[in-house]
Symmetry: C2
Subunit: 203 residues, 2 copies
């Protein structure tokens, strides 16, 4: 069974960043590849009535503590972004344009760099120039990128990613679908690995 697995993330989520540092190697250990899907928690919240965790009383301070502890225990470089959670639109739109024009590998390399920059290097990818710089690093032409990412087709593509995710029951990030089996949260990666191991043995 070698069906790709689907990985859903919001660029603004530290837990999704943690997951992004592990997902490809985890999948590869079990003969799988990964399809990366940028989504927007803000769109999911409209359906679930949820709010960004860091803004919730008591949960907020706990999450800040838990994020730092989790990063430390997993050996993942992490520096909490200074700004509160934002609606990050430039990065997912740029990623979808890169995928369309240059293919999945460049899009994923870009996503990985953006996530690391935002969550471990104090680079605010809420700023378009940071996104364009990272785009250039992975080989995109900045003029074409800036034009493409503001095009109507790409805006629609991002909405489409969010709607498609919701239609499959995705409501948070990080989220993984493996053969239809849902795993929500970086703290379900052990169960995800068990699933992939078992399905490989069964194949």
């Amino acid at each position: 069974m070698n069906a790709p697995i689907d990985f859903y993330f919001d660029f603004a989520s530290p837990y999704a960043y943690f997951a992004s540092t592990r997902i490809d190697a985890l999948a590869a250990r079990h003969g799988r590849t990964v399809r990366w899907h940028p989504v927007l928690l803000a769109v999911f919240f409209k359906v679930t009535g949820g709010r960004p965790g860091p803004t919730v009383p008591l949960l907020g301070p706990y999450m800040v503590h838990d994020m730092a502890r989790t990063a430390r225990l997993h050996g993942i470089p992490f520096r909490m972004p200074e700004l509160p959670p934002q609606l990050l639109l430039a990065a997912p739109r740029a990623m979808l344009w890169l995928r369309r024009e240059h293919g999945e590998p460049m899009a994923v390399a870009f996503a990985r760099r953006c996530l690391a920059a935002h969550h471990s290097e104090a680079i605010d990818i809420g700023k378009e120039e940071a996104v364009l710089r990272i785009g250039a690093e992975v080989g995109a032409d900045p003029d074409a990128l800036v034009q493409g990412m503001h095009g109507e087709a790409i805006k629609e593509a991002l909405k489409g990613e969010c709607d498609a995710a919701l239609a499959k029951g995705v409501f948070g990030v990080p989220f993984v679908l493996a053969d239809g089996e849902p795993f929500w949260g970086f703290d379900r990666f052990d169960q995800l690995e068990g699933w992939l191991r078992a399905s490989r043995t069964a194949a």
Copy 2:
């Protein structure tokens, strides 16, 4: 370092039930004892604006699936209660009366039996007679129990448990405080165990 650890649970929570089947052995492996604190999620929700997970769109069906999968992977007997999540008041009040009149061991034995009955034996501990039967099983006089658990002092004691928990930053269940370090969720028990192991080594 042998300070007891504090374990917070709501009788209605399946994840808290899972935690209740593991917490004492986990603590004992590292020379710790456990103080069991019954609390009410409904009181926490007033502070956090939260809602019971099973009632949230998309999250609800996922939780039902995740609970069954988590129980299976950990080998914990589990049968989803037929009724939707309830405000369970009789069990925590009875527990607090048992603790006051008969001490912690009987109160904890009672709590453990209630949790297992509700979450694996299709016994609805929302019904007072079920709570009284379990009270009798662990050695309490039913007449004294039913009178005590409806007393004003016990109602105040339960409110006091909730307020004390909130004052320590507890906002969900299961929740563990070990030396002030907070762990929310059965899926943080690996991090909790790491913490207890490290603090033992350091001692």
